[in-house]
């Protein structure tokens, strides 16, 4: 029995981490948020060289043909570093969706080369696309029909790096059949991994801060009231992580309970990450409640992503429906 990542997957995560450590990602994210997308596009290219957008594209179209486990490993690192841009749509959703669409081979090739950023909306899940900034292709899914779309009205997200927008169908691309559901699962799971990474980062930063911030003549991290808040965050994050990994294994195996596993992972990862965000905000005190502090990048991202690719209510219902329809829950 083995339940964990492989050395190769850990090396991939380390490579992504090293790359992102060398870049000042918060500055890139702030530029992206103010429509200066140049640094973000450059970072996109660097991540593409490491194969991130090619992970789920098959080798026939220039991809790597990796699976969901590799995907969540990568998105955990993206979350840790608050990387901006429509990564979930481009590297998790579109590659799976377009597999099911006849004649989408060129699009898949462009995706895997990192030359295509995708905005996407699935009508059953959300009334609009979550992030259209910097997107080259917009996809709207109705039922199992995939349409190229144009971007309509824009909105402002609590996460300034995201630009939600209405999509207007322009031309039918084809019917993706069962790949729609699989693409949604991959997108939801990548989002779960991303918020989990963000939650881990906020905990690490909060721990760092309470060790150096002194009040009453001592680091505030000495107070049990503060310790117990942070301990609870650690518990929540540690127990959400295996759900994300387990769901990835289930997706890769095509298991019958994969959708239930994805929804369970999304619920737990989102709750844990939000607990981390609230706690980080609290223990940072007033300075955490500023846009100037980088905590705001992770905090607002987790808030925004908590409803991306299915709200908590949507995913809890999916878990319960799956449990009630199964002859045996396990």
């Amino acid at each position: 029995m083995r339940f964990g990542t492989t050395e190769e997957q850990r090396d991939f995560a380390a490579a992504l981490h090293d790359l992102l450590q060398r870049v000042d990602v918060p500055t890139v994210a702030r530029a992206w948020a103010s429509d200066d997308t140049g640094p973000g596009e450059k970072l996109w290219g660097s991540l593409a060289e490491l194969g991130l957008p090619a992970l789920l594209v098959d080798e026939e179209h220039g991809g790597i043909g990796a699976g969901a486990v590799d995907l969540v490993v990568a998105f955990g690192v993206l979350g840790r570093h608050a990387v901006p841009g429509p990564w979930v749509e481009s590297a998790a959703f579109a590659p799976v969706l377009l597999r099911g669409v006849d004649g989408a081979g060129d699009l898949l090739s462009s995706l895997s080369e990192g030359r295509l950023r995708v905005a996407a909306a699935v009508e059953e899940l959300a009334p609009r696309a979550g992030d259209v900034r910097g997107a080259d292709l917009a996809l709207l899914v109705r039922g199992t029909e995939v349409h190229r779309a144009t971007v309509g009205a824009h909105y402002t997200s609590v996460d300034a790096t995201r630009t939600p927008a209405d999509l207007v169908p322009a031309a039918a691309l084809g019917d993706a059949g069962p790949e729609v559901a699989r693409a949604v699962d991959h997108a939801a799971l990548a989002t779960a991994a991303q918020v989990l990474g963000a939650g881990q980062r906020m905990l690490a930063d909060a721990v760092g801060y309470v060790c150096v911030r002194t009040q009453f003549g001592r680091p505030v991290g000495e107070f049990q009231a503060v310790k117990h808040l942070l301990a609870d965050v650690k518990v929540a994050l540690e127990f959400a992580a295996p759900l994300v990994h387990g769901a990835a294994l289930a997706l890769d195996a095509g298991a019958a309970d994969a959708t239930r596993a994805v929804s369970a992972a999304k619920v737990a990862a989102t709750d844990a990450a939000w607990l981390s965000a609230r706690t980080a905000l609290q223990v940072h005190g007033a300075v955490g409640y500023t846009l100037e502090h980088d905590l705001s990048l992770w905090f607002t991202k987790v808030r925004a992503l908590s409803s991306a690719w299915g709200t908590q209510d949507f995913h809890r219902r999916r878990v319960l429906d799956a449990l009630l329809s199964a002859a045996s829950a396990r």
Binding site: V207, P242, G246, A329
Partner: protein
């Protein structure tokens, strides 16, 4: 869930499943009652006779030499088959690992097999009136008796689980009166019917005598019942504390089985109590998370890793899951939630299990102590004056 099980592991699981489902007696009367203790001992004996009592132990003491993976598989199957709580639990999971690691060959011969078949039930004797969370404050003492080749125990232990219906006890005593706190403690094994021992059962919140006070006045224990080195008791005992908090005391099978029953209860009653829908889902998700976290830990340990302070994460998680899960069930029972025994839904088992669960955040180190440990030893926060987490 997709676990990469080997053919041997699958065969082991299937064999366990078949035997347990064919032989499970279902729920027995409380093991902390006179009637229930007899029934639970009989169940332990039949488990042992079929070789399922202590699968992870060496074959020579009645085990199967099962791997950690196989042990977790067994535990999952055990609870999914609706098998009873284990009256031998404290002995098997707290004491036996220490006897196997620190015990003499004679101690292994004398104590392991009888522990495995339920003929000798062991009670733990850690806490004292003045030593609870701060266990290093132990005052019960052991004085040297050279003439008889042993030690004389005096003092009081309390909150001793299973002591009311057990045969033998294990615990720490201060053997060096000049030493402070963790130093100068020795680990002793003793019969509960020895001269000078008085056991006074204490009724727990659930009405059963689940624990007891033990009074020692000039109780002689021979050298052969010292476990580990004289004065080395703290180090020896802490290997059990790790077990208790970590993997062995609460296997995931128990929570998974309870979560599945909760989903069934929702099926029956959910329409009437819709407000707890999310709590039902979250209880199931948390049980699943605990199960997968356990597999992750097993993978880590099998690769040569160890479980240190991370065991505290585990203890906080399962004990709070257990309480929340059962409180959700009580919500679903509506006005029936206060009923116990005959006439109550499921014979009151949800209420009984809820009361049982309420002890979890307290014993084996309160969850507040566990949070200190997580903060200081896992997250690396400064110790300060928050008390010395052990």
């Amino acid at each position: 869930m997709t676990l990469e099980l080997s053919a041997e592991e699958e065969a082991f699981r299937d064999e366990a499943r078949t035997w347990l489902r064919a032989n499970s007696p279902g729920r027995l009367p409380s093991m902390d009652s006179a009637e229930g203790a007899v029934a639970h001992r009989a169940w332990e004996a039949s488990l042992a006779a079929a070789g399922w009592s202590v699968v992870s132990w060496p074959v020579e003491y009645g085990g199967r030499g099962a791997s950690l993976t196989e042990w977790v598989l067994f535990e999952e199957e055990y609870y999914l088959a609706g098998c009873p709580t284990r009256i031998a639990q404290n002995g098997i999971s707290l004491l036996a690992p220490i006897i196997l690691e620190h015990g003499t060959p004679e101690q292994r011969q004398a104590y392991l097999s009888s522990m495995a078949d339920g003929s000798v039930v062991w009670a733990q004797a850690w806490s004292e009136p003045e030593a609870g969370s701060d266990l290093a404050g132990i005052r019960a003492r052991a004085e040297r008796d050279e003439d008889r080749g042993g030690w004389v125990l005096n003092g009081q232990k309390t909150w001793s689980s299973r002591a009311a219906f057990a045969d033998r006890g294990f615990g720490l005593f201060r053997s060096d009166p000049d030493a402070q706190r963790h130093a100068g403690l020795t680990y002793f094994l003793f019969p509960l019917d020895a001269d000078g021992i008085v056991v006074r059962p204490i009724e727990q919140l659930d009405g059963d005598a689940g624990f007891a006070e033990i009074f020692f006045s000039d109780v002689f224990v021979p050298d052969s019942d010292v476990l580990g080195g004289v004065g080395d008791g703290w180090r020896v005992a802490m290997s059990t504390a790790g077990n208790e908090r970590g993997l062995s005391l609460r296997s995931p099978g128990r929570f998974c089985a309870a979560a599945d029953r909760l989903v069934d209860l929702w099926r029956e009653r959910g329409e009437a109590v819709a407000s707890v829908r999310d709590a039902v889902v979250d209880a199931w998700i948390r049980a699943e998370a605990y199960r997968l976290y356990t597999w992750q830990t097993v993978t880590h340990v099998q690769a040569g890793g160890s479980v240190g302070a991370e065991g505290s994460l585990n203890k906080i998680f399962w004990s709070e899951l257990d309480v929340d899960l059962h409180e959700t069930a009580l919500e679903l029972l509506g006005a029936d939630q206060e009923l116990r025994g005959p006439g109550a839904p499921a014979e009151g088992s949800w209420v009984d299990d809820h009361l049982f669960a309420l002890a979890g955040p307290i014993y084996a180190g309160t969850n507040q102590i566990q949070r200190n440990i997580v903060a200081e030893r896992v997250l690396g926060l400064p110790r300060g004056d928050s008390g010395r987490a052990r």
